[in-house]
């Protein structure tokens, strides 16, 4: 058995980079340091069915085809489409995403990633108000007040707490004991059990609570006995804790980005963090889900100027979330072909979007059997980034790390597949 050190985990946005993989006969058979979710991904548990050959649906049944045929077919679908949608990107590395951007430009597609259905509202709020962040090491070394709002890292980002909030840091030698942890969540969660203060607000009342906190911060009196189900004194007490911080950090997740108000919740939360800087040092970090969801937003931005929902229909990048998002295109029945890569909209998109997906040609570049591949017309299996292929991923705080190739694979990488589709698409367009 061989041990491979310093492996970066291809699961969540915490991007733990201290994983040790146990390798036997060119297969990962175990891990050290990984959480249960990361470990499962490395060793393919949960009975995942892995595709080894490209599959094309013929008369309702999948038949095996060669990579070459699959790539020709994929290019043909994209070139023939009037309004192709290229969605996903969050579980692959940045150089593949770069090729994807070039392909989107080539076939005049709309390109969008999973942020569309997770931290998209955060991105819209960033346009409105800004983005005061720090890297996770700053949290470890400096933070004495840590807020988790609308997220449950205990389960979704299992090592987040131990690596950053419980860890001993330069100015926080005692680790957890040197910090106040505040959880804002309508549920009692395993994260909230660890908190010093749990603000158990009413569901869908995030905006009201932030608003009340900002009012208190500005020295106004809160006019109601309770706001969002939280008694006035508790709100004022929490705000005092925030003001007294030396270094405060707000981590926030889907519980606030997708509850009522969406990006307006984040607008006001970001503004609260900005205002807190009059009293103490405060920053925030969005709890990004997929390990490289942030990476796609970075790549898409440096290539096109916009982070997601980019429409290349005219050849010039256009950006109008609400019109050029994946769900907009699908639910409006605008998309007439879809390429899905490194994500699973089949499992996560609303019914109305899935109806359209069922009607149009869907290409899935996907290693495993998923609800999306069940709807696909064409499946192209890639080598898995972080295990069988290498490349960059951006952690939730923007720190870029190199994903490792731990074992060999006969399969093409996402990047190679996309390069071949791009080449073929250029050829097809030239012959038109």
């Amino acid at each position: 058995m061989e041990l491979v050190n310093n492996v970066v985990c291809p699961f969540c946005g915490t991007l733990c980079d201290d994983i040790i993989c146990k390798v036997e006969n060119d297969e990962i058979v175990g891990t050290y340091n990984a959480c249960i979710i990361g470990h499962s991904k490395f060793v393919h548990t949960e009975g995942a069915m892995r595709y080894k050959k490209p599959l094309l649906r013929k008369n309702g049944e999948f038949v095996e085809i060669s990579y070459e045929e699959a790539i020709d077919k994929a290019a043909q679908i994209l070139v023939d489409a009037k309004r192709p949608l290229m969605y996903g990107w969050s579980c692959t590395e940045c150089s593949a995403q770069e090729v994807g951007m070039e392909l989107a430009e080539e076939v005049r597609a709309v390109v969008d990633n999973t942020a569309s259905v997770c931290h998209g509202p955060s991105l819209l709020a960033v346009h409105d108000t800004g983005y005061p962040v720090c890297t996770l090491g700053e949290v470890k070394n400096r933070a004495d007040v840590v807020v988790y709002w609308g997220c449950n890292p205990f389960h979704a980002h299992p090592r987040h707490l131990s690596r950053h909030s419980y860890a001993r840091g330069f100015f926080r030698e005692r680790g957890r004991a040197d910090r106040t942890i505040i959880v804002v969540d309508p549920r009692k969660s395993d994260t909230s059990k660890l908190a010093d203060i749990h603000l158990q607000l009413d569901y869908n009342n995030d905006y009201e609570l932030v608003d009340a906190m900002r009012a208190a911060l500005k020295g106004h009196e809160i006019l109601y006995e309770e706001v969002a189900g939280i008694p006035r004194d508790d709100i004022v007490g929490a705000v005092e804790a925030l003001k007294k911080a030396q270094f405060g950090i707000l981590f926030f997740g889907m519980g606030i980005t997708h509850s009522l108000g969406k990006h307006r919740n984040i607008d006001t939360a970001i503004m609260m963090v900005q205002e807190l800087n009059q009293f103490a040092k405060w920053t925030l970090i969005p709890m990004r889900g997929h390990y490289n969801v942030n990476g796609f937003n970075q790549v898409c931005t440096w290539e096109s100027g916009y982070p997601f929902c980019v429409d290349f229909a005219t050849g010039t990048p256009r950006y109008n979330p609400g019109e050029t998002g994946s769900n907009d295109l699908l639910q409006n029945k605008e998309a007439d072909a879809m390429m899905v890569i490194a994500s699973d909209p089949g499992a996560h998109f609303p019914q109305n979007a899935l109806h359209t997906m069922a009607e149009i040609p869907v290409i899935a570049i996907e290693p495993h059997r998923t609800p999306t591949t069940e709807m696909a017309n064409l499946i192209i299996p890639p080598a898995i980034v972080g295990m069988e292929a290498e490349g960059t991923a951006y952690r939730m705080d923007g720190v870029p790390l190199r994903m490792k190739k731990v074992v060999e694979s006969d399969l093409l990488s996402d990047k190679e597949i996309l390069e071949k589709i791009l080449e073929k698409a250029q050829e097809l367009k030239a012959s038109k």
Partner: protein, 573 residues
């Protein structure tokens, strides 16, 4: 492949060529004395020929640049370009912060062939390099930030120059960095707690080192490592009325240190960057006025320093800097959106949009201060023209700045008709009638930046052996009068008629025709005495694993991130 650019009027200050009609011969990507008759001929009759321009300080790639793009779709909506299939030109958008492809194209269109990314957070170096690779055409390098690095602060607090040199040598190699960049030394660390430092004798909480000690120590390390570029200094107190005293005090600190580069012909020990922002008198925005004359006088009287300007272009732009506290102050001042990124153990940054309105008093004076600096520093061998892009304005405005500098009439028109009256009242700009010549423009955009960067062996000139980076502008110096034809100057520099990059025709009639060209990455490959290097690194690793959030082995930037590696060698201590 041989090429010859015939009959152009050549300006090449590093070789003392001032408007001579000459042929430029190119072979295998280099300038040569002569070529055979088989050479492909390009006619430049009645046109200006200059070396490819060198950008000494801009923000074009990396985390904060991308946050600037991400945060401001309104900036992208103002300026977008579509795919050009015939020449494989990629689409893009962004007025003040163009996307990567557009950045490369637009620099090239103006005749720029080399550009420096002036601030790279070491922990985020991969990001900077990924974007630099995505910028076509331009040769490039990035300056890692050291002014608030904990290791450096500890070493220099103890006066341990040798260990500091070993650490910096390692970090330059690990991040594929080029030069020592110092931004608001100690101030950004203080911003880790929401504070700042004031002047050069203040300290950040916990650390026992002053900005003065940081500047001096790193200038010594710079010459010990025999780096190509000098220390690149963004002084403390940026943008504060009355800060010129801090600026001059900072410039005095490294004076007397012996210049010692292993390559190139640099003869200065400090480069003061975007000095416009550091030449303010007064005590508040009410009595704010120019101190450019005092700072220019200092530069005129001292030979250990070069500066770049940071000229305000009077646009709506996006400010971005590793000076975290300064950006928070700016956000508090203008109320516009604010991004920030504190980077563990190393640095910080901020991004805030800013509208430099000609009709507003302070931006009008800032414009005047930049102009004064350029015009009052007598020797263009001491200055580089920059906008600190995109801070004082986007780099795409360079041609307008050249026109302002070449035409007193243009400046008078600005003062009389466009700018708030403070520009005249609070500065001496209205009394200066100097006009730059083409030669001086070439000096401040080619010769001087190439020399101070330590790249003048092969950049910034057209002598034999230089890289065949050549810009040809369709302006005839015999017939054009820059004083009165200033709009023609602006247009002429905006779109070069031909640009050659490594001898390849890259821009023709102002349009990019060779969009796929990839630039070289310069980085400083220094070596220090092996035993002390190993000892220092061992201690660095011990601290690293405790306080960074990533593993020590996952820190160095892999070779995959550099397509065309161009290490510049330093030597042993």
């Amino acid at each position: 492949m041989e090429r010859i650019i015939k009959n152009g009027v050549v300006y090449c200050p590093l070789n003392g060529i001032n408007g001579e009609k000459m042929d430029i011969s190119i072979k295998d990507g280099k300038i040569v004395e002569s070529v055979s008759d088989d050479a492909e001929v390009f006619d430049a009759s009645g046109q200006i020929v200059m070396p490819g321009a060198v950008e000494v300080h801009a923000h074009i790639a990396g985390a904060k640049v991308n946050v600037g793009r991400m945060m401001r779709p309104e900036d992208s909506k103002k300026d977008a370009e579509g795919t050009v299939e015939a020449t494989h030109r990629r689409a893009g958008s962004g007025f003040s912060v163009p996307s990567t492809h557009m950045t490369g194209y637009r620099y090239a269109q103006m005749g720029y062939t080399t550009a420096m990314e002036a601030a790279m957070p070491p922990l985020l170096a991969r990001h900077t390099h990924e974007e630099l690779q995505a910028i076509p055409i331009l040769d490039h390098a990035a300056f890692p930030l050291f002014g608030n690095n904990w290791f450096v602060m500890d070493y220099l607090g103890e006066g341990d120059i040798d260990s500091c040199a070993a650490y910096i040598s390692w970090l330059l190699r690990a991040t594929k960095g080029y030069a020592i960049k110092i931004v608001n030394p100690c101030g950004t660390e203080a911003w880790g707690w929401g504070g700042n430092v004031h002047g050069i004798h203040d300290t950040a909480p916990h650390f026992k080192v002053t900005p003065a000690e940081m500047i001096k120590g790193m200038a010594e390390v710079n010459e010990k490592l025999r780096l190509p570029h000098s220390i690149h200094l963004h002084c403390n107190d940026l943008g504060h009325p009355g800060n010129y005293e801090t600026t001059i005090e900072s410039f005095e600190v490294p004076k007397g240190i012996k210049v010692n580069p292993a390559t190139g012909s640099r003869d200065t020990v400090v480069h003061g960057t975007h000095v416009q922002y550091h030449s303010y008198a007064g005590t508040s925005w009410r009595d704010f006025e120019s101190a450019a004359d005092i700072v220019a006088d200092y530069v005129n009287k001292n030979d250990h320093i070069t500066i770049d300007i940071g000229q305000v272009t009077l646009d709506e732009t996006t400010t971005m800097t590793a000076d975290g506290p300064m950006e928070y102050d700016l956000h508090s001042l203008n109320g516009l959106k604010w991004a920030n990124c504190d980077v563990e153990m190393e640095t910080g940054s901020g991004v805030v949009p800013f509208i430099y309105s000609a009709k507003a008093p302070v931006p009008a004076v800032q414009w005047a201060i930049g102009m004064e600096l350029s015009l009052l520093v007598k020797d263009p061998a001491k200055i580089c023209l920059t906008t600190d892009s995109p801070n004082a304005g986007p780099f795409t405005r360079y041609p307008r700045i050249f026109a302002w500098l070449m035409s007193n009439q243009y400046r008078e028109d600005m003062l009389e008709n466009k700018l708030h009256k403070w520009a005249q009242k609070r500065s001496s700009i209205a009394t200066i009638d100097r006009e730059f010549s083409f030669y001086e423009i070439a000096q401040a955009t080619r010769g001087t930046p190439a020399k101070v960067l330590g790249l003048s062996d092969f950049k910034g000139h057209l002598g034999a052996g230089a890289d065949a980076d050549v810009a040809v502008y369709n302006m005839n110096p015999d017939t054009i009068d820059p004083s009165s034809d200033y709009m023609a100057i602006e247009q002429g520099f905006q779109k070069a008629s031909m640009v050659f990059k490594d001898g390849e025709l890259t821009v023709k009639d102002g349009e990019v025709v060779n969009a796929g060209l990839k630039g070289k990455t310069f980085w400083a490959d220094t070596q220090v005495e092996q035993n002390s290097y190993n000892a220092v690194l061992k201690e660095v690793e011990r601290q690293f694993v405790k306080y960074y959030s990533i593993g020590f082995k996952n820190y160095p930037v892999e070779d995959e991130y550099i397509a065309k590696s161009a290490p510049i060698k330093g030597v042993m201590l």
